[in-house]
Point group: C2
């Protein structure tokens, strides 16, 4: 068995293994009921060694939620990028998909929901990052509306912010999703109708 010449697997491999082991446990038992020793054991290493790859347990959780976010953003881009959608339809699809994602996470993946909640509460910066990432997708949609003349908007960044505010009720992971999905989706549709009318007939008021 050669002792030299064999390049050790890159650090990232190990980090990935840790993250995977942790994720499994987080999803199954929750953040609080997962211990660093367990994660270490799953990876055949000591607790101390974990800290060469992540500087705290919360950082592992953040990496995991970061992954969830990635999936979510990818999904949003996907549904919004489907061919044949007008810009208004894209906006509607964006928020409806987001509602569905958050609603489903809340109702059928409670551990994942809790985990997001905990991380976003501790890591304000990360929460803002997430919002920005979504705002970016919105801006891209609006850019499309500008190009096709479909739904022209002067200040796209600002409009994205306004839209996020308007649909907060339907998309914030901070709210507790009691009601029936179809009712929520219906109300979202109503609001979207109104807002699209607003954008279409916008008296130019975007200042600055």
């Amino acid at each position: 068995m050669p002792l030299t010449g064999v390049v050790a697997p890159p650090l990232d491999e190990t980090a990935k293994a840790i993250l995977e082991a942790a994720s499994r446990r987080f999803l199954h038992y929750g953040y609080g009921k997962t211990t660093m020793s367990e994660i270490a054991r799953d990876c055949n290493m000591s607790t101390g060694n974990l800290y060469r790859f992540f500087s705290s347990k919360l950082d592992i959780a953040e990496a995991f939620v970061r992954h969830l976010r990635g999936e979510q953003i990818r999904r949003l881009r996907e549904v919004v990028g489907r061919p044949g959608l007008s810009t208004p339809e894209k906006l509607r699809t964006f928020f409806k998909t987001k509602l569905k994602l958050v609603y489903d996470r809340f109702h059928s993946r409670p551990k994942a929901y809790e985990l997001s909640q905990e991380i976003l509460k501790e890591r304000l910066a990360f929460a803002e990052e997430w919002e920005s990432a979504e705002a970016l997708v919105l801006c891209e949609i609006l850019e499309g509306g500008e190009m096709t003349g479909d739904l022209p908007v002067c200040n796209r960044v600002r409009m994205a912010r306004i839209l996020q505010d308007a649909f907060f009720r339907f998309t914030s992971s901070a709210v507790y999703y009691e009601g029936d999905y179809d009712v929520l989706a219906g109300e979202l549709d109503d609001l979207m109708d109104l807002i699209l009318d607003g954008i279409t007939h916008r008296k130019l008021r975007d200042s600055q």
Copy 2:
């Protein structure tokens, strides 16, 4: 001292005294740190006797929050009823005032805020009642818009609901008011501009 002929103060008087004593303590020490014995002592009666007037501690708290709600609704009606306001201005004033009320309660009357939170979490029906009461004010504003032709809306009840959804971010007592007031107010204004444009140029779509 006449024993007959002196009508005992009406029950309501006693209930009012209890409510007042309880409110003082709720506001000063919070719901959890106020005991029924203390309330009873403040009113010079036994704990058992309290239950002739309120069937539980939570009911006293609800009565108190009901009072808060009354004040708030009265205030909303007041600012919205000021002469010389157009219907759009009334809508804007309504939501801006609501934001200010919730924001201020959160920041400068934390005990009152907590109390509302607790009651609204326990008493779902009461929370809905509150929403309905505000929806009613909105409907009245919209009715004015219909009459003056200022801002005609077909389905007022539905529009009220949509507006409540849209401004949820700024007016829900469920959200944690971290940000700066002026920033929030600014975003509210932006959203209101957009929505007013929407209402004004509404493609008639109110179904049913």
